[in-house]
Symmetry: D2
Subunit: 146 residues, 4 copies
């Protein structure tokens, strides 16, 4: 899976409340996503060059605890849903094993000329990779709910 | 209600997809929220000085169309839920009357020493203002669903 | 000249020092620059469409006082140097008539295919506008140093 | 010296020009600075807790080449000037051995109650560390200019 990524909280990510500004967690979800794809052989730069752009169409997050300047945030990412035109990813963020944030992002696929792409047909290898990751995730969920 | 705010999209808010980066919409929700409170007599700076901090505990957004550099984004904000310890706000964003984004933010209230505040008891005037705004919103919803 | 622009400091622009993070002043210089060009008939969006991209090649700033959340920052901008291939702009930022920041940005001009553009030859009207603004600035400097 | 730090360019750091937005280089200077201090035993979080705040009072940068999404930017940092009340740092950034950016930041030292701190008197160990680093830098400059 290679689905774990660490982000060290920067000073410029804090706000005057003394903790991380809430908008940054969505940026870290992107960092983790790009890192995960690259580590599994799908460099997002190359995907864009090959003609797959993957905009966010919905996103959400729940803040459990505040991450602070200097913290190492460990982000775990799971492919939770895959269809030809849609991808959904679930994220958990931890600081020293404490859950600080959970979130979801939903993506579609479009070509450079801004038409929807059904990746099951146009990029079957990538599609199969995502399907496989989703199944690994479902197994993990099944295990932990026993 | 005074619930309308305009944000002009800046160059630094775009990304290499040629449109606004999705994390910025959450920053604009904050801009609209702060502006709305101030315009209704509740300067957020003063609220913090008076001892009410209002962190985001959950947030979500749906992207309908892409806002672009130079666009004037009109943000409408509605108080959708108020309790002593919780506040929920709904947002719609438009570019030239086209809906580009909808979202929700959920807040709690804490004191400077990081304890939960029940604003119904500690800041009743502010609480009543929010309740009143929520009722105006419910009326508007009722009208538009007729 | 139309060289004045106001920015209201946002919560997400603060850091845990309780004031604006220093990187934001460079974003406000850009805001003021884009606003100034637009107000004088040169929409930067249109300039890019017409084939002039104007990257920053050098930038600097001096921090005199700290801007804070909620402050209205008044930015004054002056064209200080113009050549065919180069443009230099000087900025002053004020909060309630107190100088908080001064800075300079230096730009070059390139075409969409990333070649240098001599705007004196390729966009003479725009070049003349900039030259004229520079002369207004020099007059103002001369006046204030008398 | 331990004066080298790597930053991987994120998607959210790009703009519609297709390269990194120029304001981010100042954020990376901060990242490198915090990392350098920590690696040498001076956790900035702890420095703030101990009562040394170190705001930026001047900053500048020159853009040589554009960093792009996915690039690993190697940042080298050198203490170039130290006095009781002032610190100056010089930065070079490289992508695959190509120089993309050079910059300088200038800092002062203040206490939590916002008074200037002479660190030679109040934090002599930290002062001596900085002096020592500056001498290492001067030796390196002398060597490379032979």
């Amino acid at each position: 899976m290679n689905n774990s990524y660490n982000h060290v909280v920067q000073y410029y990510e804090t706000d005057q409340m003394g903790v991380v500004h809430h908008s940054n967690y969505f940026r870290w979800m992107e960092e983790a996503r790009v890192y995960f794809l690259k580590n599994n052989g799908y460099d997002y730069k190359k995907l864009e060059d090959d003609g797959i752009i993957s905009p966010v169409i919905a996103i959400d997050g729940k803040y459990k605890k505040s991450a602070k300047f200097g913290d190492t945030v460990n982000i775990k990412l799971y492919i939770s849903e895959v269809r030809g035109l849609k991808l959904k990813i679930y994220y958990e963020m931890y600081v020293e094993n404490n859950l600080v944030f959970t979130g979801n992002s939903e993506h579609t696929f479009i070509s450079k000329d801004m038409k929807f792409l059904n990746i099951e047909k146009t990029f079957p290898e990538f599609y199969n990779f995502l399907i496989n990751e989703k199944e690994l995730y479902l197994k993990e969920v099944a295990k932990s709910s026993k």
